[in-house]
């Protein structure tokens, strides 16, 4: 039935247990093929003679037009919702996405991510006085200036704005400025411990 593949595409996205399922180019192509057939009918009908008795194609054209619009809506909704997810990921993972997720992106989506990052960077550079304002920080209201953290995975050296260097080795614990480790906590490198 018309539109069945399109709705499968939408359900795939809705039901996926993955954060970002692979772009289903095969299905997209099948849907576009269906559209081609639908459109062909409409074009043929428009150029043939209309006879209310023997050649009444009106209902057929209307239904196919609806199916074309439906397929288009599903395809666009598929892409749009994937972009929304990518956007959210940019805010949560930062500019470097995990390889498992990158592998599922289409070429267009890879490019989109780069452009989105650039647009954000441009905006953040131009707000908040001299140095710009990084909106990716302070995702929660701040409490203390310094916090205790435990390192969950080997990270290596981290140099603070002050020039002080910390060696973040697995299971090491540190007392560090909140503003400079918030990102690493959100990424799961550090864990915030003994908060109050």
């Amino acid at each position: 039935m018309w539109g069945d593949k399109a709705i499968e595409l939408i359900k795939e996205l809705e039901r996926s247990s993955e954060l970002f399922p692979p772009f289903d180019d095969d299905k997209v192509r099948l849907i576009l093929e269906e559209c081609r057939v639908l459109n062909q009918f409409i074009e043929d009908a428009m150029s043939s003679t209309f006879d209310p008795e023997t050649n009444n194609y009106l209902a057929g054209v209307k239904a196919r037009t609806a199916a074309l619009e439906r397929n288009k809506r599903c395809l666009l909704a598929y892409q749009w919702n994937r972009l929304q997810t990518l956007k959210k990921m940019r805010w949560e993972f930062g500019s470097i996405l995990p390889p498992e997720i990158k592998a599922n992106m289409s070429e267009t989506e890879v490019q989109w991510c780069t452009k989105y990052s650039k647009a954000l960077a441009n905006y953040m550079k131009n707000i908040g006085g001299r140095n710009g304002l990084n909106l990716m920080l302070d995702m929660q209201p701040p409490k203390d200036l310094y916090i205790e953290v435990r390192c969950l995975k080997e990270y290596g050296k981290l140099e603070l704005d002050s020039g002080e260097v910390f060696n973040l080795s697995e299971n090491s614990q540190h007392y560090m400025p909140r503003s400079q480790v918030e990102n690493l906590i959100r990424l799961g490198v550090l864990e915030h411990i003994n908060w109050s």
Partner: protein, 210 residues
């Protein structure tokens, strides 16, 4: 520069009318809460944010003069972090709406700051591209993006919790199907109302969202 800035810089000369850093901070705090709770994006407060960011930069320099362990330094730095959070969270709340309602906001762009407008334009063009790519692969007349369809408008009929800062001179009118109800709004009164019927008052800061 803006009037606001003039007033701000002249604060010592004219105490009565002066806008102090403290009151700017209060206005930003209110703007933050409103923006978080409002279905649509509100007129920007970029002037206030700019003034406050200058204050922050200045204060940051002053704090550098103090010993890091000095109690005063700690309190100042903590305050700077709090204000920076406030501004970031406020601008993020706006950014989220700018992105989601992009087409609609573009048509109502007077509420944006120049930087926000520049961002919106960039965002619109980069977001349309992948959708347009798909449409280009479409046969026939359906292969066009319909801007009307792409437009997501904020739900102005959404209900909100509101508190009035003043006695409103006029009653507000709540439409409920064929019925119309008039409400007199007094200072500090709180209600649940559809956003649409207090919209103008939220935009001009006579009513705040809670």
């Amino acid at each position: 520069m803006s009037n606001l800035e003039d007033m701000f810089l002249n604060e010592e000369e004219d105490d009565e009318e002066a806008i102090t850093a403290k009151s700017v901070l209060e206005m930003i705090t209110d703007a933050w809460v409103n923006e978080k709770l409002c279905p649509e994006i509100l007129p920007n407060k970029a002037e206030l944010v700019e003034v406050m960011m200058e204050q922050i930069d200045q204060m940051e320099e002053n704090v550098l003069q103090l010993q890091k362990t000095d109690l005063r330094s700690i309190i100042h730095r903590q305050e700077l972090e709090r204000i920076r959070y406030l501004i970031r969270s406020y601008l993020r709340a706006r950014l989220e709406k700018i992105e989601f309602y992009s087409v609609w906001v573009f048509k109502n762009q007077s509420v944006l700051s120049p930087q926000e407008l520049a961002y919106l334009k960039e965002y619109l063009s980069l977001s349309v591209a992948p959708l347009k790519n798909l449409c280009d692969r479409f046969p026939g007349p359906a292969g066009q993006l319909n801007p009307k369809q792409m437009e997501i408008a904020p739900d102005l009929e959404a209900h909100v919790f509101a508190k009035s800062r003043v006695d409103l001179p006029d009653t507000i009118i709540v439409h409920d199907g064929p019925r119309e109800e008039e409400i007199t709004v007094t200072k500090d009164s709180q209600r649940i109302v559809p956003y649409s019927c207090i919209r103008q008052y939220v935009r001009d800061d006579r009513i705040k969202l809670i």
